[in-house]
Amino acid sequence: MNKTTTMLAAAGLLAAVLAVGTWNAEAAGSTCTADLAGIETKKKTPVEVTIFNTTLAPMTLDLVIYDANGFELVRRTGEIEVGPQATELISVAEQLSRDLARREKPYEGLIGIRLIGDTPFSAQNAIVHATQYIGNRKKPKSAFIVRALFNEE
């Protein structure tokens, strides 16, 4: 066997290994993040996050809430479950106050929200938005919608 044949065989083997690796990564699915920003949580500006699963498969997500400086306030790993064709509504105020001591006040101010999930969670399969209410949640004076920015890894 000459040098050229050996090199060609090695290149072929390398290509095969790379192909198998790529196939495995695709089979395992990808992780997707959905980021929401430009929202503020206060007693009179409640925020509600909507996650609409448009598929027939369930979605399990992580939820992270950051303060204005990027400090992680809340992390819920695998706690957000959205059933097939269902919508999950998350009250940010509830998430921020859940782990606090009895008289401790929850964070107030600008926040960033990140949702992380594996396939089928993606820009094509999920609809994610936050509703920023001005005033009371039940009888708001007004409200606006902020859509999520999706990034797939």
Binding site: T50, F52, T54, Q85, T87, T131, S142, F144
Partner: protein, 157 residues
Amino acid sequence: MRIASLLLALAAIAVAVVFATTTEPARGEGDATLYVSGLEIGGKTKALLRIRNVSASDQYRVHYTVRDPRAGAPISQLAAGDGALVRRGATLELELTSIVNEFRKQLEAGPYAGPVQVVAFGSGAVIDDFGPQTVVVEAFVKQGSKIRPVNVEWRTD
């Protein structure tokens, strides 16, 4: 005997296929699905959805389903049966409280209050597909005199 059973089974499958294809409205390949979320109904809270056909040549049958978002279960007639005909230039207005409560009345259930979601698609397109290029959607929630926006998004399979 075996052949007769086999033929009977095949006939049953054929009937099931015909039934499934006739009950499911025909959707074009390029037609998009409309998802409206962030809606709410009940008491003085009303949700309105307006769908305007701005296609140059087509009329569509709009098949919409109002769902209870928590379970994803329909709380209106599935796909609006044969669908609502929206001619070129026309606007279809859906007042979701009445649609849901009328459907529930038929099932002898009381009125519904809470968040809802709407999924809609069109059928009958000949030239222009049903989607964001041909249909203008406006949706909002009315709470007393206050109006708030909701989220409207399109997806193509």
